[in-house]
């Protein structure tokens, strides 16, 4: 089974983790038009590649960010949200 490293609890089988979806910025709801908003709600950046994703280590309820390649399943690194420069998040 695939291993993932929780920044707090260390390396565990991926069955201990919950996938929370891609980390993606929300447009400002006050200024976004309906089409922009619907695009945010439904459409995905679904081309495979290296993505920043929310993951949760469920036994400890620890949420963190994993950089994972969605073609190879390779996890490049994991870190707590906010502990890395957020400008790295590609829009």
């Amino acid at each position: 089974m695939k291993l993932m490293t929780c920044p707090i609890n260390g390396q565990r089988p991926i069955s201990e983790f919950f996938y929370g979806g891609e980390l993606r910025p929300m447009p400002d709801p006050a200024t976004a038009d309906d089409a922009t908003w619907a695009d945010y709600i439904f459409n995905q950046n679904n081309v495979p590649g290296l993505k920043q994703e929310w993951w949760c280590h469920t036994p400890s309820n620890t949420w963190f960010i994993a950089e994972r390649h969605t073609l190879t399943d390779e996890i490049q690194r994991t870190y707590l949200y906010g502990s890395q420069v957020l400008e790295e998040v590609s829009p």
Binding site: Y19, A38, D39, I41, F42, N46, P48, T70, D73
Partner: protein
């Protein structure tokens, strides 16, 4: 002995021609380029030629015919969906399926077995009744049955499920069938080929040219093609192709795994599905049990296998059929499912003129193969969405006008 077999025994040389030719090179222009040589793409090619007389058509396949989800699914065919648009669409598919072998002159092992979707909770029972009522409304044979009727049809099943989640009832769908998946691709491929369609295997699309909002050409690793119509029928690879034309979609790709047992003497006629236990199973003509569960829990564009899938599925299989303890699993595999937020496909026209989409097939693409080919062919030929697929258009999402198939989410497949 069927006469057909006598021919083989009495011929001096093997009498069969090629099922599909292998063209040396791509032409510079096709009226339609179909990307994806799975069941859907080949069916669309077949119906373009057969129904619409369009034969200057190329099917471009990166691997080999039917090598994607067509050859990886668990071959269940049914039409017991939840929404009117879903039921009408899949019912048309079942109708086409029933005559397909004779149309192709190729045995698809289309076998009507009856399909039970088990309910282990009262909320699942409610959903089953909902589906049964909608199905009946459109003339599709579905009914809610109780434990006794399930036990009569499948006396081997342990309705107590090892005490965990006793079976309370089921949605019974008599037309539920299975078929030999590879043969479907070959049948459509041969039929299309015989009518003049070119099938190019081991040809990968590297780009699609769009000028002023119109498709004008396709680039491949074997050369460039000019065309004004492109049909994209590539399941898990759809996002990569959409990216080539600058479109976004709600598709998300997760692996869907399956496994098969060693053959054993026939004992299971029906197709059994349990959403709560994440099990679906049928027995092939060869005697193997073909089994699947649910989507993998996270996005991945890969067909790798996991061991926990086999462990979980075997646990639940034995809950239902404890006597299979000694039966051995031979092989497991995976496909890539392109899912949508409302569990309904995305079909038809797109904001790019001449770029047609056949996607969002999640876990239900195989059963739709004939109707999909037929309706997409009509859509491509006339540049107007076929009436059966209007509700499945890509722009329904920006309109917040989703298809209600997700209401039955707990009982998928």
């Amino acid at each position: 002995m069927p006469l057909r077999l006598l021919k083989f025994g009495l011929s001096q040389t093997y009498p069969e021609p090629r099922m599909f030719r292998q063209p040396d090179r791509l032409k510079s222009h096709y009226d339609v380029v179909i990307i994806g040589g799975g069941g859907h793409g080949l069916a669309a090619a077949y119906y373009l030629a057969k129904d619409h007389g369009m034969t200057n058509v190329a099917v471009i396949e990166k691997g080999y015919l039917g090598g994607g989800n067509t050859g990886r699914n668990t071959t269940i065919i049914r039409s017991n969906y939840l929404t009117p648009e879903g039921v009408k669409f899949y019912d048309q598919s079942v109708t086409l399926w029933q005559d397909l072998a004779e149309d192709f002159n190729l045995n698809l092992f289309y076998s009507t077995r009856g399909h039970f979707t088990l309910a282990h909770t009262d909320s699942a029972l409610r959903t089953m009744r909902w589906r049964a009522e909608v199905n009946k409304h459109f003339g599709v044979a579905s009914e809610l049955v109780g434990p006794q009727e399930i036990q009569d049809a499948c006396p081997e099943m342990d309705l107590h499920c090892g005490g965990h989640l006793p079976v309370l009832g089921a949605l019974y769908h008599a037309p539920g069938s299975i078929a030999r998946h590879d043969a479907v691709a070959w049948g459509y491929g041969r039929g299309a080929d015989q009518r003049g369609v070119e099938i190019h295997q081991q040809t990968e699309v590297t780009g699609i040219t769009v000028k002023s909002g119109r498709v004008t050409g396709v680039q491949t690793n074997r050369g460039n093609i000019s065309t004004n119509k492109v049909l994209c029928a590539v399941a898990g690879s759809t996002p990569r192709l959409l990216d080539m034309v600058g479109l976004r979609s709600p598709l998300y790709v997760h692996p869907l795994q399956a496994m098969v047992s060693e053959p054993m003497k026939a004992w299971l006629d029906a197709i059994i599905v349990s959403g709560s236990l994440h099990v679906y199973v049928s027995q092939t003509a060869r005697g193997e049990l073909v089994m699947g569960a649910s989507l993998d829990p996270y996005e991945l564009h890969s067909t790798r296998s996991t061991f926990d899938f086999v462990e979980g599925l075997c646990t639940h299989m034995l809950d239902l059929f404890p006597f299979l303890s000694h039966v051995k699993i031979v092989r497991q595999w995976a496909g890539m499912a392109d899912m949508t937020p409302d569990f309904a496909p995305i079909m038809g026209k797109t904001p790019i003129d001449g770029f047609y989409l056949d996607s969002g097939w999640g876990t239900w693409g195989f059963k739709a193969t004939p109707v999909c080919g037929k309706t997409m062919a009509a859509t491509v030929a006339s540049d107007r969405p076929h009436e059966l697929i209007r509700e499945f258009s890509l722009d329904r999402f920006e309109r917040y006008d989703l298809v209600g198939e997700k209401g039955a989410a707990s009982v998928g497949h």
